[in-house]
Subunit: 187 residues, 2 copies
DNA sequence: GCAAACAAACCGACCATACGGTATGTTTAT
DNA sequence: ATAAACATACCGTATGGTCGGTTTGTTTGC
């Protein structure tokens, strides 16, 4: 333990910092015009150092995306574990997680990444694989058409929120959320 | 005026060709990596010729987007004119227009453009202005929460369709469409 | 216990090139 | 003749990626 404060190179920490700052840069400049130099600067590393951890720009982007996807995954699991009702449990967690992200607006790392998710074939694949896996796992409880509709609507609201310059009004978001949650419990 | 048959330079037609091929290129390569040269080549014009019609890349992209937005606008008007019921008329047309676009999948010019719509602040503004204008015009008939939900769900489905490599199954799309249309007539 | 040897982490300079845009020339229409 | 509609050639720059070297950490041989 005594080695913990004099260690000069901490690759794990640098790697994390690179992931975080890459996400942040993507939010600020848009992922399209994301530059390796900017990420390296933000993380106080040289471009060479960055390319040591991630052999290419694409590799960096994918790593950031996988990282975020993992976080979303954990958050949904957490929400599901707090839900006592079987029927529609996943859908409720999915909707809630998306509203959480939506509330954060453009500052959320998800904003830029999920956008780029559509332009990049590889990221699209990662996402649809994750989604397919989740839907299969919860087919017994969440395959009703009404649940499907609620999830799609959540996506649409999330999208609309990104489109608006300042995001949708907080009050309206709250109303929409309640409306969607009601869909998952009634009938 | 009478010499319409031997005309060798038809700027209007070239301009149209540029718009169409730009949309097509954006679909193939993604708008981020869209290049003036590629568009010019596709339209059998030199880059200089392209820049004569559109003074900058941004101007080209905006023109393409406005063009497509105009087409969507007309399509929605057409659909609305065929709808005898007042209540939810706009929402039905909106949903239908989106499913039309969705059915075309990745080949539709909308795929790439609407994606880029999110990365580009100017395009986002154009879209949200169009949307706001439409919603105001049909506030009397389409402001019910159920309609809002249907529109958001249509957006979500459209998005999900883009995410899947080969798009959603045609059968499922048809079911979803019927489901949404039902939402706009009952209650 | 301590170097030597090896590997990982990182830096700094450089390269190749693709791309947006300009400046200027040439052809076509009115 | 004049202007629009193009073509050709070129430039500046930004950016992804490479490469050789340097520092830091770990293992091995004695």
């Amino acid at each position: 333990m005594s080695k913990a404060h004099k260690r000069e190179k901490q690759p794990e920490q640098v790697r994390r910092s690179l992931l975080d700052h890459a996400a942040r840069c993507a939010v600020d400049e848009g992922l399209g015009s994301l530059t390796l130099q900017a990420v390296a600067d933000a993380a106080s590393v040289t471009k060479g150092g960055l390319l040591h951890h991630f052999p290419s720009k694409q590799a960096l982007i994918e790593a950031v995306f996988e990282d975020l996807l993992g976080k979303l995954d954990m958050e949904i699991d957490r929400l599901m574990s707090e839900d006592a009702i079987d029927r529609g449990r996943f859908t409720r967690a999915y909707v809630d997680a998306f509203f959480q992200v939506t509330r954060d607006g453009a500052e959320s790392p998800w904003a830029a990444l999920s956008i780029s998710c559509m332009t990049d074939a590889r990221l699209r694949q990662l996402w649809s694989e994750w989604m397919r896996d989740r839907l299969e796992r919860h087919a017994q409880t969440d395959s009703h058409p009404a649940f499907k509709l609620a999830r799609y609507a959540a996506d649409g609201i999330w999208l609309a929120n990104l489109m608006e310059a300042d995001g949708l009004p907080a009050k309206e978001l709250a109303e929409l959320r309640d409306h969607l949650q009601n869909l998952t419990i009634q009938e």
